[in-house]
């Protein structure tokens, strides 16, 4: 399978009054065609900023992509002009956000918002766009599509709005869909429906999905490949089954341990002690060392590199580099 999205050594920094925030620091991974890649990690680990860097949404004086490559379908996104990027956004790469309630324009009708990318990228006229919009509303499982098309966002529930967001996202048949915590704001029952729908569209059109979540339940259900992020870095990645069966990094182990498992109720749900460190004050070290039960001397002074360990699994941890660790 060829890769559709290829991120290499991506670094996105924010200049603040207190110093430079390395929100994404040397992140590399691939998304192959027809594959669902999940990025997991606690809040603040740089998942959203990674996605926004791909979309070219990190702009303005403070935040900037300061290094690396983002290749989409063989094309270097970071080198494209504003206009070239615009023709890819919404057309070949689509994105949905966490909050469907605020992601739609409150004063425009649902139908109008669905028609816009069709008119922009598919060059449909108003009539054809409207017809297609109605079809799309039906495709995401909402009946009375005509009526919904003439409604305003505040008239629909969160679950319905997220369906609409998906309809907008898939309207131009993108090769890659980036979904940033698409179900976090929704009820559990609706979550499952939305995830099912994403998977269904993926299978129908062979698009790839980059799914960002902090919920390992979602990962288990959706992912082909998992990228675990911590404090702006990838600490572990691998095939979903291998990673769930044999997590290598103490952080991944901790995440998996803190996930409730039915029939195995513990006295108290495990949680990783401590918090994600402030990305401002990071010195060369394994950023997880303060919270790690296996912390060694070297972890406090030198950063481990992401190394292949076994079948399609990579981890950045000194525990697996003992041969070289006695520096």
């Amino acid at each position: 399978m060829n890769s559709i999205l290829d991120i290499e050594h991506l670094r996105t920094h924010f200049k603040t009054d207190d110093g430079t925030v390395r929100a994404v620091d040397d992140v590399s991974f691939q998304v192959r065609q027809g594959e669902i890649v999940c990025i997991v990690g606690e809040s603040g680990s740089g998942k959203s900023i990674t996605a926004m860097s791909v979309m070219g949404l990190v702009e303005g004086p403070a935040g900037r992509v300061v290094g690396g490559n983002i290749r989409f379908d063989g094309e270097e996104l970071l080198k494209l002009s504003r206009n070239e990027l615009r023709t890819i956004r919404g057309n070949e790469i689509a994105m949905i956000f966490q909050e469907p309630m605020t992601s739609l324009n409150p004063v425009l009708k649902i139908g109008e918002q669905l028609m816009e990318p069709l008119i922009e990228h598919r060059k449909l006229n108003k009539k054809a766009a409207r017809k297609r919009a109605i079809e799309l509303i039906n495709e995401v499982g909402i009946s009375r599509a005509e009526q919904i098309a003439d409604s305003y966002p505040h008239e629909l529930s969160g679950g319905m709005l997220q369906r609409i967001m998906i309809a907008i996202a898939i309207s131009c048949g993108p090769k890659l869909l980036i979904a940033d915590e698409p179900t976090t704001a929704l009820d559990v029952t609706i979550q499952a429906q939305i995830l099912d729908m994403l998977r269904k569209f993926k299978e129908e059109s062979n698009m790839s999905i980059l799914l960002i979540t902090h919920d390992l339940g979602v990962v288990a259900e959706m992912a082909d490949y998992v990228v675990v992020m911590y404090a702006g870095k990838v600490v572990e990645e691998g095939e979903v089954v291998a990673l769930f069966e044999n997590p290598k990094h103490p952080y991944t182990q901790g995440l998996l341990k803190s996930k409730p498992i039915i029939n195995q109720r513990q006295e108290e749900l495990y949680s990783i002690p401590g918090q994600v460190p402030n990305p401002l004050e990071l010195v060369p070290s394994c950023y997880f060392h303060e919270r790690c039960a296996h912390c060694m001397e070297i972890c406090k002074t030198t950063q481990p590199a992401l190394k292949e360990v076994g079948n399609q699994q990579k981890v950045a941890c000194w525990l697996y580099e003992e041969a070289t660790a006695n520096v």
Binding site: M55, R89, M95, F97, E99, N105, E120, G141, I168
Partner: protein
Amino acid sequence: MSTINGEATKAYLSKKSVHTSLWRQSLRRLLKNKLAVFGFVVVAFMFAACFIGPLFSPYTDNKINMAFMNKPPSLKHWLGTDVLGRDVLTRVLQAGRISLTVGLASMVLSVFIGSLLGIIAGYYRGIVDQVIMRIADLLLTIPSLPLLFIFGALLSEWKVPTDYRMYIVMLMLSIVGWPGLARMVRGQMLSLREREFMQAAIVLGLRDRRKLFNHLLPNLVPLLIVIATLNIGGAILSESVLSYFGLGVMAPTPTWGNMIDAANNMIDFQEHPWLWIPPGFSIFATVIAINIFGDGLRDVLDPKQKR
């Protein structure tokens, strides 16, 4: 695949009554505000009276009739006659046409200039923003009345024909009117562009034009309506002040402002109050009513702006 069944959709929609557009909701809330409704009725009455009223008056030719000089109100002349024997009521209504037109037109012009520049400044930021807003700041630091006086004096100096003065006064009023407006619109733009739905619009790969006019402008409309309404009142007042001082629209074109000029004359002020009370009251009632209505609109459309 899971489907939200028709019943659930229907229940959801009917619960909030189908297509309660934001406008209809706002209208309903506005109608509940009795004071605002009263303001609107007064404004509407003023407009209707000034634009339709003179059609029913037998005195619209403004014939000079020395036999009827300075007559007090009577059945024939409800508000009396002026120094040239013209019917004051007819004059007040005709003056209202001019005053209201000047107010409306200069509002439209300053809202157009102000919102265009405010939108551009807020959307593109950077150097464009700097240039536009510094010019606006400059105009805002000069109190507008002295500025208008200078303009007015220049007009008299250059002997601009009185027929044209009305249009130039409109232009002057919008020159002093747009900066405050541009600043408000820009502020709103800055906050709108950070909203998540604008990020979603970027992600859709929409052109700037589409983002500006389809996404941002409709969100600005409520604010624009409010400022525009309040702006009319201000413009009418400024025009009156200018014309009162003989620097705005000049006789023979009547405006409320140059009609109150009669109050300048001690004899007219004391002996012929029907000359200056009607235009004075018209200004007062119209401006107050517009402001009451505008405040009501603001409460409904733009609750965040409440001070």
